[in-house]
């Protein structure tokens, strides 16, 4: 009797979960930034706001602390290498302390607290979570240290300036370009990064928003694959099996697209057209080797990292900066592949370069 009663206690578990799920999806965050026409409206506005930096003005050379994602993937390494090169070759910089979070927001929050105690002239932050780091940024600013955010935004915008591409825009453009190449109709599968991680969710939203304008585009699969080539390939293989016709693959981050190329090859199916953001050197290599048709929109770590340092120095010199310093993110397709692909560098490298090639080669990114 007792046992049956406990089997029944399983039901509340399922019910509770489902209740939360349905309640949650309806109340899902309303704090998402306003977006329209494929761009983030608030960032566009921020790009017009001039920040007065006179109160941060100091004489150099400066001691900077950079909190970065860390070399857990090629994107992070490209970023770190670029920053380290800049730090060494910029006469305005006395010292740059690089504190990699290795992808962990908790670690980065702790690092923020540690860094504030060391009183650097400025903190350069690539936040591991828009939300997670929000209060940390306010606290650092309150402690009198200018925070220059780059690579990912932070809720509340308490920072001095933010340099990045428009994350929403690149993913939107990739989807839009893909839809256009498909002449507005066909079956598309979408891949996303890690559920709950900002970039993944922003890109997912952007892709979905873009496809909404094409009623004849049918989303036949939408899967998270953890920015992993392996998981991307596994999920792609399942979707290929489930769908006899796939015309396009949109991937929020090119890792899953890379996996999908491999999966289509294995299945002996014709390669679809790809729409990706953040193309890695590896994606470009496979695209070249397989004659893939694609549209790619970069989320380039090297130029953003360089801009991050440049902006920090501007702030410290009292020069005016914009609240949002937009970085160029021009899309391209297979016809311009060779301008972006570098056969000397390895698959993990994310083009383009912002430091001399030798810097990347000696960091271990040679093929």
């Amino acid at each position: 009797m007792r046992k049956r009663r406990f089997v029944v206690t399983l039901l509340p578990l399922a019910l509770m979960a489902s209740a939360c799920a349905s309640a949650g999806s309806s109340t899902a965050s309303s704090s998402s930034p306003s977006r329209a026409n494929g761009v983030s409206v608030d960032l566009q506005q921020d790009a017009k706001i001039v920040v007065d930096t006179s109160k941060w003005k100091k004489s150099g050379p400066y001691t900077l602390a950079a909190l970065t994602q860390g070399p857990i993937n090629g994107w992070g390494l490209t970023w770190d290498v670029t920053m380290q090169y800049e730090a060494k070759n910029n006469s305005d910089i006395k010292k740059l302390d690089l504190l990699p979070a290795n992808g962990d927001p908790n670690k980065e929050i702790a690092a923020m607290e540690d860094v504030v105690k060391q009183k650097p002239d400025a903190i350069l932050l690539d936040p591991m979570g828009r939300a997670a780091l929000a209060a940390s940024v306010s606290r650092a600013m309150a402690a009198g240290i200018p925070v220059i955010v780059c690579g990912n935004g932070v809720e509340g915008k308490k920072y001095v300036t933010y340099s990045d591409i428009d994350l929403y825009a690149v993913a939107y453009s990739a989807a839009d370009a893909l839809a256009k190449r498909l002449n507005g109709k066909g079956n598309v599968v979408m891949f996303h990064g890690i559920p709950g991680v900002d970039a993944a969710e922003t890109w997912k939203k952007a892709g979905e928003d873009a496809f909404k304008h094409y009623p004849n585009i049918k989303i036949v699969g939408s899967e998270y694959a953890n920015w992993s080539v392996a998981t991307g390939k596994e999920k792609a293989a399942a979707l290929i099996a489930a769908n006899p016709q796939i015309d396009g693959v949109w991937s929020g981050g090119s890792e899953m697209a890379t996996g999908a190329i491999l999966a289509f090859n294995d299945a002996g199916r014709a390669q679809p057209i790809y729409g990706v953001d953040n193309p890695t050197n590896g994606f470009l290599r496979l695209a070249k080797e397989n004659g893939i048709k694609f549209n790619a929109f970069p989320d380039p770590p090297a130029p953003i990292a360089k801009a991050c340092i440049d902006n920090a120095i501007k702030v410290l010199k009292g020069q005016s900066v914009k609240k949002f310093e937009a970085q160029p993110a021009e899309g391209y397709d297979e016809s311009q592949l060779d301008q972006h692909y570098d056969p000397q560098l390895n698959d993990d490298f994310v083009p383009p370069m912002a430091a001399p090639k030798q810097a990347y080669l000696s960091a271990g990114m040679q093929r």
């Binding site: 999806s25 702790a110 607290e113």
Partner: protein
């Protein structure tokens, strides 16, 4: 009758000292590691030496500390809780969403959040004691269900900002010491006191030592075990709320890996993963050690390539002091 069984055992006094050292070996080792790390880092880094930095280390240890206390209770009663990290995530996100979408007073919501954590723990406990299923798997399943629930609640993105008083609570301090650290110290004390000075606490040791013996001593084994999961749930919820106060906004990646970190911390601190042995003093040492080593690495700017390796070696050192338990 003058008969007695007290016969002098050879070298008894020396054996007693040895056994005391051995009994507390893991704990002594952890604290000596903490001290060594403190001295070495102070000698090398002037930033590290600052009292404010040390206070920060204490504040950074709060999240892991809260969860580890709960985990210690569960482990001592012979269980294991893999769902603590996701409990803190669900509670943090749920509370954050409720704070901006309902008219309920935030204080009430905080209370509800803690109760919610307790309910999750209660469900864990009932499933484990009721079904007699392996705690590892039940709580692993719960971890999955909660991870999914967290995604559903947040819709994947950050939630709205929480009220300012919540943030202020994180920053509040009495003199140089943050209130949060003081509260945490009180929680450690209470948790330690309950475990070592109350009937309930001793019952936990008894249940973890042997459910059969505990049952014979008229201890309600199921209730005791379930209570430990409830405690773990409430403390995880508290950790989630603390994370929320630290971030100011509910982030859907909060609380990841806490389950592993807390189990490893407890184990380094000398808590037997088979139940019934160890104390919160050891757990506290391990939590301090982990927070301290992460801080030291930041202060000394250890390369990212070697940070994980260094942490792993510290964990290995910590656990390698284990010694065979003398059987009866």
């Amino acid at each position: 009758m003058s008969l007695t069984l007290e016969r002098p055992v050879v070298g008894e006094r020396r054996a007693e000292t040895v056994s005391a050292v051995r009994r507390h070996g893991a704990v002594l080792f952890i604290y000596s590691l903490v001290v060594i790390l403190l001295i070495a880092a102070s000698a090398v880094s002037s930033d590290f030496r600052q009292p404010s930095n040390l206070i920060d280390v204490l504040r950074q240890s709060i999240v892991l500390g809260l969860v580890t206390i709960g985990q210690t209770y569960v482990l001592l009663a012979g269980g294991i809780d893999m769902s603590v990290g996701m409990t803190s995530r669900v509670v943090a996100l749920g509370t954050a969403v409720a704070m901006s979408h309902t008219l309920i007073h935030p204080y009430v919501l905080i209370l509800l959040g803690l109760i919610g954590g307790g309910l999750i723990g209660f469900l864990n406990g009932r499933l484990i004691t009721g079904l007699g299923a392996a705690p590892f798997i039940v709580t692993l399943g719960m971890m999955g269900a909660l991870a999914g629930t967290a995604l559903a609640i947040s819709g994947g993105g950050p939630t709205d900002a929480v009220p300012d008083f919540f943030l202020a609570a994180y920053d509040a301090s009495m003199g140089p010491i943050p209130v949060a650290v003081l509260v945490m110290a009180v929680i450690w004390l209470v948790a330690w006191f309950v475990l070592s000075r109350t009937r309930f606490g001793r019952n936990i040791y008894a249940v973890g030592g042997s459910t059969a013996v505990a049952r014979l001593a008229a201890i309600d084994v199921r209730r005791t075990q379930t209570s430990t999961y409830v405690i773990a749930g409430v403390l995880s919820a508290a950790a989630g709320l603390f994370l929320l106060a630290r971030s100011g906004v509910g982030d859907p990646s909060l609380g990841g890996n806490l389950e592993f970190q807390s189990i490893v911390a407890a184990a380094i601190g000398g808590i037997s993963l088979y139940g019934g042995r160890g104390s919160l003093v050891g757990s506290l040492g391990a939590v301090l050690l982990v927070s301290l080593s992460s801080n030291v690495m930041n202060m000394l700017h250890v390369s990212a390539y070697y940070q994980d390796l260094a942490l792993g070696v510290i964990v290995l050192l910590g656990v390698a002091v284990y010694r065979p338990r003398r059987s009866m």
